[in-house]
Amino acid sequence: MNSNFSLKRVWYLSRLHFVSNKLIFAGALAVILVVILYIFGMSRADPFTIRRTYDYMLMLAGAIYSSTFFAAWSDKGNSTMRLMLPATSTEKFVTCLLFTTVLYFIVFTVFYTGSIYLLQNVFFEKISFSQLLLADPNDYRDRGFSISASALHLLVFQSFFIAGSVIFNRRQFFYSSIVVFILFFLYIAVQSRIIHLLSGYRIFGLNDLLVLDGKMWAGLKDGSTSIRIGMSELISRLNMVFWIVFPAVIYYVTFLKLKQKEI
């Protein structure tokens, strides 16, 4: 049998994953719908809240889903069945990425916007699709909150939780969350320290970092005046490492762990 990458086997794996988890998927969508109804079912929704909630729910639900993707592989019987399935480790990993990033992102976005669109248009004022996810486009583009930015954030965020689902044998979501929290804390601390050394200013969180015209800026307060300082080359590189190189390494390490997983 061909050991090269086969799309046919990815299709078999995808079909198996979908059919085996269809009840869980239906349950997850039901929970998301309940949350949407709770937040947006009482009054006309503020576009800013819709957009913010989208980002938070996308990340949270994605983290939970990703951290469970390989969780069953820590159980002896399940892991034997899955590791012994005649497909390459690459095909199994690609199937994971397909579900946890591409399909999840599309399904969540369509379901979220569709639900709110129906809810708002039936019970409250008319709202357009563009208002749902963009609100004030300038504002969101300034803050790096475009849909593509959300997709990129998801890709970065998911890498930790997918890795967690392979590395940890139990409580994958919990342990992965702790790791993510520690890493973010270190990231902010290092960045704050560098900015402080270079400019004398202090920043305290991720919200102070802005992307404008393709460059990164730190938004700071000098007394009562808001100012922006351009980020140095060092900070830009640090961000590139954090947002692109680091997740790529995490994905690669996860793939290797999966390939070398023993029972």
């Binding site: 049998m1 061909n2 059919v19 069945m81």
Partner: protein, 281 residues
């Protein structure tokens, strides 16, 4: 062919399990893999199926390293663990969703085996007992028609009629191109169907032989007294039994329990007797 070359394996927490094991398992044989608890029966199956990697030495299946998990190797080995997990909702979904991974899967045989084992084809697994699920997976494992079929404690959880059906099915699953290894504690469940025996003890394989060779060399006698020429004797609820040299080409059949106890009591003595040419008159 399965080939072990000076294989050493240990678990970090448990110390050495195998030390310098050499082994060659040939096609067309149903092997009974016996050993005490913790002897490493399941680990041996995992090493063959690439679920565990040797610390030193090597294991190959048809010349390939199973640890690389190449599709060609995976599609030719089916390992059914003791704690079965079903990767689909029901036998019908198992056939629809998992069988396409196995190029030689036989749909007709799968239905036939499910019938023989009295498992409903479209009943969801969540509504079936552990034994039913296990029977469905045994049927699936055989229907995959892989060259290597590894079964870990397959009769655990099966009722008495199912154990009998299992023995009949396994006998029919024998094929000159297929190697079947059945690891078990339930010696009585496999004694009539195996034609090769492996015993694991003290980090090594202390017996690797065929049933034919053993029954040519030894007689297994049951009675009320133990003869003086007995090489090993045991006592069970059915009375006394012993092993003697087979000097008259008698065919007594093998008492696997007695054989196992004899070999772990003094492996060197019995192996020397087994390979000796001067014993059989």
């Amino acid at each position: 062919m399965i080939h072990f070359d000076k294989l050493t394996f240990w678990y970090r927490s448990k110390g050495p399990l195998f030390s310098g094991v050499d082994l060659e398992l040939t096609p067309g044989t149903i092997y009974g893999l016996l050993g005490k608890n913790g002897a490493g029966k399941t680990t041996l199956l995992k090493l063959i199926s690439g679920l565990a990697f040797p610390k030193s030495g090597s294991v190959t299946v048809d010349g390939a390293n199973p640890g690389k998990r190449q599709v060609s190797t995976l599609s030719d080995i089916f390992f059914l663990p003791e704690e079965v997990a079903v990767s689909a909702e029901s036998p019908v979904y198992l056939q629809k969703l998992v069988s396409p991974f196995y190029p030689r899967f036989d749909n007709g045989l799968f239905s036939d085996l499910l019938g023989k084992l009295e498992v409903e084809f479209d009943k969801p697994f969540r509504k079936q007992s552990f034994g039913q699920r296990k029977k469905a997976m045994i049927a699936f494992a055989i229907a995959c028609n892989t060259s290597y079929l590894l079964l870990d404690e397959p009769t655990n959880g099966l009722d008495i009629p199912s154990k009998a059906a299992f023995r009949r099915i396994m006998a029919s699953a024998a094929d000159p191109a297929r190697t079947i290894i059945v690891s078990t504690h339930q010696i009585k469940d496999v004694d009539s169907m195996v034609d090769g025996i492996l015993i694991l003890h003290n980090r090594r394989i202390i017996l690797h032989s065929t049933v034919e060779k053993i029954s040519n060399k030894f007689r297994f006698i049951h009675g009320s007294t133990i003869p003086a020429e007995a090489l090993f004797a045991g006592e069970g609820v059915m009375g006394k039994s012993c092993i003697q040299l087979n000097t008259g080409n008698d065919e007594t059949g093998i008492d696997l329990e007695l054989l196992f106890n004899a070999w772990i009591s003094d492996p060197d003595k019995f192996n020397n007797l087994l390979i000796s040419n001067t014993l059989q008159s």
